[in-house]
């Protein structure tokens, strides 16, 4: 029994990310072709150089055919996988493992989602035939995540209006970052007053506490670490990959108090161990986290060890996670401003690490030079809801360890 990880065994040598948004004029096939083509170009390889493909999508296609047909991939391994909102991350994880095992030399991980063809403004999740008793099918996603706020307020004595300020600041910060991101769905700063006054969707969550529903695709090319420099001058080395699925304890066991994601804690701790990180707040240059709703980002600051338990809210208010803060979180705007095409989001997070650690992020949303020198970035991607979810953490870095 072991979780050894594959630290520095593989590297990402090419990446792409399409514009996220309401692409009324683009199909799933268009998005896949665009993302795949740009990733191949980024790595300087041809489609035929890729030995195996992992396609992540929650509902925009099934089977490897959803990728092999638009790209005309001829008789190569193509797997399609789904792991809720962590789908894109899991595609990357599987591609990395295939390369690390030596089974293939070049793998592509690609994620895609086309949410805006459903005709509905929120996420539409196909239901499994059931006995009609599971409240997961009754509640909206913002309602499930809004269960966090009364519990957090009660546990840490943060009044509801003060917690709302914290949530508002998270949305404000992510929109501010997204305003400088040409690929983001929302590219405008939004005032705190406008965020706080947005119509309530569920609990304390207004529309502006929710991530953007959008279409998009992102992709990565993965090769063995010792081949990396054949493809690119500044590869990103994979330091840690973890994915955990919870037993669903939180909706069964009264000891769960809705102020944490135990799955996020478990995946982060394993990732830190794999990467040899002991003080994430000081060692990480930046983090892309799963800010599906503003309270999620708040709780994740504590779960990922960026803030002490019960102190995340005050760190947020102090600006610790701003672009110019101690540990910039979601410098690309996050799910909030970049948008959340489910299957693509995990790879989009990696894409921002790719830009920031390699100095390719636009100047007006670049993290601090001191942060860049730390050389390590984290992505956190979560699928499910408080109480029962899957959680993914990756750590990537610019330097291979000795």
């Amino acid at each position: 029994m072991a979780s050894r990880g594959i630290r520095d065994k593989v590297a990402i040598v090419g990446m792409s990310c399409t514009q996220f948004g309401e692409h009324w004029d683009l199909s799933v096939d268009d998005l896949l072709l665009d993302a795949a083509g740009q990733a191949l170009a980024s790595a300087g390889v041809r489609k035929d150089d890729v030995d195996a493909f992992w396609l992540g999508t929650t509902g925009s296609g099934i089977a490897g055919l959803a990728l092999s047909k638009p790209l005309k991939i001829a008789y190569k391994p193509v797997s399609r996988l789904e792991n809720m909102c962590a789908t894109g991350s899991d595609a990357l994880r599987n591609a990395c493992y295939a390369v690390a095992s030596g089974a293939v030399d070049v793998a592509m991980a690609i994620g895609v989602e086309k949410l805006k063809d459903s005709g509905f403004s929120g996420l539409v999740v196909p239901a499994v035939a059931s006995d009609g008793t599971d409240s997961t099918y009754d509640l909206s996603a913002p309602a499930m995540f809004s269960l966090i706020t009364p519990a957090y307020s009660a546990k840490y004595g943060v009044p509801a209006d003060e917690l709302k300020e914290v949530m508002t600041r998270i949305a404000w910060k992510n929109h501010r970052n997204g305003a400088h991101n040409s690929r983001a769905q929302f590219r405008k700063e939004v005032s705190r007053a406008a965020i706080a006054a947005s119509p309530l969707v569920a609990g304390q969550l207004g529309v502006m506490d929710c991530s953007g529903v959008s279409d998009g695709s992102a992709a990565a090319i993965v090769v063995p670490a010792d081949h990396a420099h054949r493809y690119c001058e500044r590869p990103l080395y994979v330091k840690a990959l973890t994915l955990v699925a919870g037993p669903g304890q939180g909706l069964i066991d009264p000891s769960y108090d809705f102020t944490s994601f135990p799955e996020a804690v478990a995946s982060a701790q394993d990732a830190y161990r794999q990467a040899g990180i002991t003080d994430p707040r000081a060692e990480l240059a930046m983090a892309e986290v799963h800010d599906c709703f503003t309270p999620t980002e708040l709780v994740l600051m504590e779960d990922l060890g960026f803030a002490e338990r019960g102190k995340g809210w005050s760190e947020v208010l102090a600006g610790a996670f701003d672009l110019d803060g101690d540990l910039p979180v979601n410098p690309d705007g996050g799910l909030k401003a970049f948008g959340h095409p489910v299957g693509a989001s995990g790879l989009r997070m990696i894409f921002e690490c790719w830009l920031q650690l390699r100095g390719e992020a636009p100047e007006d949303r670049r993290i601090g030079a001191e942060q860049v020198r730390r050389g390590l970035a984290l992505t956190h991607n979560l699928g499910g809801q408080p109480g029962e979810c899957v959680s993914f953490v990756s750590i990537v870095g610019t330097d291979p360890s000795a």
Partner: protein, 470 residues
């Protein structure tokens, strides 16, 4: 011939004030209010609630259930099977609907009394009419349940007498929203002799006179005839039509009024119940000393407690929406999926009776029941634990304005049960603005939604009535 062993009633939470009707329509209305089944209730779910109260008051398990209603949730399919499932009755127990006519309520009660086995009669109804009608104003929604079986009971039937005629007084074609009545003076003229005949015969059978009757219940489908018979019958105390201030609950009305009398009657008292519906029937009962003891030993809300506990603030347009009389813009969400038959059947004890599983090794409760323990990992070492009668505390909650529900917003709560176990479910009968962490709740059987012609029954939480008042 059984004795009455136990009874229970259910009056829904919401009341429509009659002035609200007048305010909206600039006509009609009146004083007081009527009970209204919430959007998540129907005759079957209310029957379950009344039957649960009766069930808590007797150890005898029925071997048959007769469900009487003029508003069956399903046709063709037996709605009483849901009552049996919710009570956890053995599959050997019979279930049958007595559906269509108001008279079926008293009929089910008489048939339960006549049955050679412990039998539960559940009378449940939603009554209304077209907007602005007298039936809308005077109708009500409620349920009552009566368990008969081998004594000693709380009352015994000492005489029954009926007089029937074929005449047109009140009628309704299937699928019509409202019943129609002939000129009520005609019905009055036909009912009165029939009512006197039935009462006289019943009194004669029992060898008593009207003055010996301590409590009389008179109700029926023709208000005018009921009022006149109440004046003429010669009783000293009459409980009639709107005595409870909740409207006339059709099939269930005779049961509610009888239950109200039983809530207050002394031992060895005579109760005459007369129903005027397509004829007249009088039932004479004599209470036993056990009534007092059983009432004291199994305290529960009286009918008048339930009638008084309602929420008078239901807007008329909300009422019309719930009744399907006002079609509102639906939420922009995908159509609901109905529950599937095989999983509903496999999970019957969970879905209809809220039976959880508890780990024999470590005691962890699982809602929904699970074969594997989330705490200690043991597999197939579970015991069944019924949760429906256990109270719980709200741990966290969400008012959901986006979720699909027939009456937005949906209120979701995470509950921790007093004896252990957690459930996330919907909160019924609550003001979304007043929900708080720490609220006390109990479980109630509801119709969650109807999708593609299939009703989805399951449990919700509702505020504990005592907690609400304090």
């Amino acid at each position: 011939m059984g004795q009455l062993l136990a009874y229970g009633t259910y009056i829904p939470h919401y009341r429509l004030g009659r002035t609200a009707i007048a305010a909206a329509l600039q006509s009609g209305g009146g004083r007081g209010s009527r009970a209204v089944a919430s959007f998540d209730e129907d005759s079957t779910s209310m029957a379950v609630e009344a039957a649960r109260q009766a069930g808590r008051r007797s150890d005898i398990r029925p071997l048959a259930t007769y469900l009487a209603t003029t508003s069956p949730a399903y046709l063709d399919k037996t709605n009483a099977c849901v009552v049996n499932a919710a009570l956890g009755l053995d599959s050997a127990a019979f279930a049958m609907d007595v559906a269509a006519a108001v008279r079926g309520g008293l009929g089910a009660l008489m048939a339960a009394h006549d049955a050679p086995r412990p039998t539960l009669a559940v009378l449940s109804d939603l009554r209304g009419g077209l907007p602005g009608s007298a039936d809308e104003r005077d109708g009500g929604d409620a349920a009552a349940a009566f368990l008969f079986g081998a004594g000693p009971g709380i009352a015994e039937v000492v005489a029954v007498s009926s007089a029937s005629e074929e005449f047109l007084d009140r009628w309704r074609l299937p699928a019509q929203p409202a019943s129609r009545i002939w000129e009520d003076r005609f019905g009055e003229s036909v009912y009165l002799p029939l009512a006197h005949a039935a009462l006289t015969d019943a009194l004669k059978q029992a060898g008593v006179g009207a003055q010996d009757i301590q409590h009389a219940v008179i109700t029926g489908t023709n208000r005018r005839a009921v009022a006149r018979f109440a004046r003429e019958a010669g009783f000293t105390e009459v409980t009639s039509d709107d005595a409870l201030g909740i409207g006339n609950a059709g099939t269930a009305q005779v049961g509610l009024l009888l239950a109200d009398v039983l809530d207050r009657a002394g031992p060895d008292e005579l109760v005459a119940v007369t129903l005027l519906a397509d004829g007249a029937t009088t039932l004479l009962l004599r209470t036993t000393p056990a009534l007092i003891a059983r009432r004291a030993a199994s305290p529960g809300a009286t009918v008048r407690d339930q009638a008084a506990a309602g929420d008078d603030g239901l807007p008329y347009l909300t009422y019309l929406t719930w009744r399907g009389l006002l079609t509102r813009e639906p939420p922009r969400r995908p159509d609901l999926d109905p529950p599937a038959a095989p999983p509903s059947y496999r999970n019957e004890t969970w879905k209809y009776r809220l039976v959880a599983s508890q780990c024999d090794a470590c005691g962890t409760r699982h809602l929904p029941p699970s074969r594997s323990c989330v705490s200690c990992g043991q597999v197939d070492r579970m015991s069944a634990v019924p949760m429906a009668d256990e109270r719980a505390t709200v741990t966290t909650f969400a008012v959901d304005n986006l979720a699909y529900t027939p009456s937005p917003p949906l209120v979701a709560v995470v509950l921790d049960f007093d004896g252990g176990g957690r459930l996330r479910c919907q909160l019924a009968d609550a003001d979304p603005g007043s929900v708080a962490v720490g609220d006390r709740v109990e479980m109630t059987f509801r119709r969650m939604a109807t999708a593609r012609g299939i009703h989805n029954y399951f449990w919700k939480a509702r505020p504990v009535p005592e907690a609400k008042r304090s």
